[in-house]
């Protein structure tokens, strides 16, 4: 019998802690698939964030470090310079990468560090219970923007993939999603491209992944996927913002 799909070898056989309908699990599995396909799992070190993915180190069979909140790219920088032959990536949320760790993330791009960042953008702080994120949409209600995000009061949502794309040291910056098979296929393609560019020492690679948070959005998994597609991806447009290997605009 021909095997058409199997569990990625690098994905640990454990039950994860993510809520039903959360897309973190899909992103973990895609990264594991790419690590397997590129045969890089034994040369990879990943940096886990503070946030919902704080326990990500339990899910991929590679070396991991758990960083202080926001400092993932700084930690990745230290590891990469200690062992330049490794594949080093950070796995972060929007609050981690775009609020408390904005300086560290930006300097990954400014410095052109050969590391990759995955920023899961679900427009909310999930682990702490649904507070406003730097990426919360205008009008969106959270526990710390209970009247809806009003730019006069809470400022504007930040577009990270575009910001990172502007920096000289960025080799690749893109935004993708996971709400349907097509989006998942694109995300996997970008993961692979980012890793290839990192191993070719092309510079900083950044992938913002628009994902869900059914629990804190107060939605069912299906509703959350629809919200990601119809609301989040409308404001956070999907596609490649920068690619040193030629434009691949969607």
């Amino acid at each position: 019998m021909k095997v058409v799909y199997e569990r990625p070898k690098t994905l640990e056989k454990v039950v994860n802690h993510y809520c039903p309908g959360c897309h973190h699990g899909i992103l973990h599995a895609l990264i594991a698939e790419v690590l397997d396909e590129m045969n890089l799992a034994d040369k990879a070190v990943a940096v886990a964030p503070v946030g919902c993915a704080v326990l990500a180190y339990n899910y991929l069979d590679i070396d991991w470090i758990e960083a202080p909140h926001g400092r993932a790219v700084a930690i990745a920088t230290g590891i990469k310079l200690a062992h330049p032959d490794l594949l080093v990536f950070t796995y972060q949320g929007d609050g981690d990468a775009a609020s408390i760790g904005l300086a560290e993330t930006m300097y990954g791009a400014i410095r052109g560090m050969n590391v990759t960042t995955f920023m899961y953008n679900n427009a909310i702080y999930g682990m702490t219970g649904g507070q406003m994120a730097p990426t919360t949409l205008i009008g969106m209600k959270t526990t710390t923007s209970p009247y809806g995000r009003d730019p006069k009061r809470e400022g504007y949502p930040v577009k990270m993939a575009e910001t990172i794309a502007l920096q000289g040291g960025t080799a690749f910056s893109a935004r993708s999603s996971l709400y349907n098979p097509r989006a998942i296929t694109d995300t996997k393609k970008y993961i692979r491209h980012a890793f290839e560019l990192q191993m070719a020492k092309a510079g900083y690679t950044f992938l913002e992944v628009v994902g869900t948070c059914p629990t804190n959005w107060g939605m069912t998994p299906v509703e959350a996927s629809e919200f990601a597609k119809n609301e989040l991806a409308k404001f956070y447009q999907l596609g490649v913002l920068k690619d040193v290997e030629g434009s691949e605009q969607k």
Binding site: D63, I65, E66, G78, I79
Partner: protein, 351 residues
Amino acid sequence: MSDRILMKGNEAVGEAAVRSGCRLYFGYPITPASEIAEYMAYRLPQVNGTFIQAESELAASNMLYGAAAAGKYAMTASSSPGISLMQEAISYMAGAEVPALIVDAMRGGPGLGDIQAAQSDYFQLTKGGGHGDYHVIVFSPYTIQEVINIMPLAFQTAFRYRNPVVVAVDGLIGQMMEAVEFNYFTDPEEIPLPDWSLSGKFRHGNKKNVNTSLELDPDKLEAINWRLQGKYHEIEEKESRYDYVGVDNPETLVVAYGTVARLTISAVKKVLGEGKSIGLFRPVTLWPFPKAALAQKAKSAKRIVVLEMSAGQLIEDVKLYVYDPTKQYEFHGHPGGTTFTPSEIEQILRG
């Protein structure tokens, strides 16, 4: 290069680090520590090392965290306000058992304070500084030659115990020049990569390494903390260091470290020559505090004099470990960047 050369303290810190096998430096400019970064920016490329000017002390200390967790000798240096910012990474590194080296060229505080030499980081360095029950190992050399002698030991001690180590100098030691000697040069290739390093599974038996300070199960975290306390007790037993100059059972015992000890030593020698029963106890490690040795030296002392460039921090440990209400405790301090003059110390010692 075993001849004596004239070198500035901060540059000696950098050269000593290179010769100890350190090839990774992450820094952020701050007076009076900036020459350490400048020296490393110039020196590291000559030995295939890497210097990074970080975007902040937060980033510098977390780059250090990454590089040390990757199993390499790495360092940063800063001065008091910068060290305050690094307390985040230091607490995490203590929890995750990462052997990083941090040099603190102490200056006056609190807040921005000033840029002159001070010793008011004693509390933040020896009592934890960040959150959680932990200790960092703190060396406090009092001459540039002692800085040079301590640097390789500081790296080795950090790796032996998988614990952050601070070498606490002050603005004076950093800024002055002395004739010094380097009698070592370690090839970093000869420093073995620890089996716990984050270096890719292929480098450590294809089994994944995870470095974290997180343990959500409170019973397990308590067990981890008791294990760490056990490690700290072992460090206290094995790594406490001090120096003593004076008569065997002095009536007056002076306690001082770093620059103040250096100023005090000539004054002590002078009054010793006048026949006074006196001795200078100089902690070389501020943590672990050489408490047993201090208690022993203080046994017959009637008068204990503590001299610090702070408003009185070291004296708390002196009183804690030599608790005796029949003794007379005396504190003299210079908080804020001024320091003692030799004649001032002589006057104090004569009582």
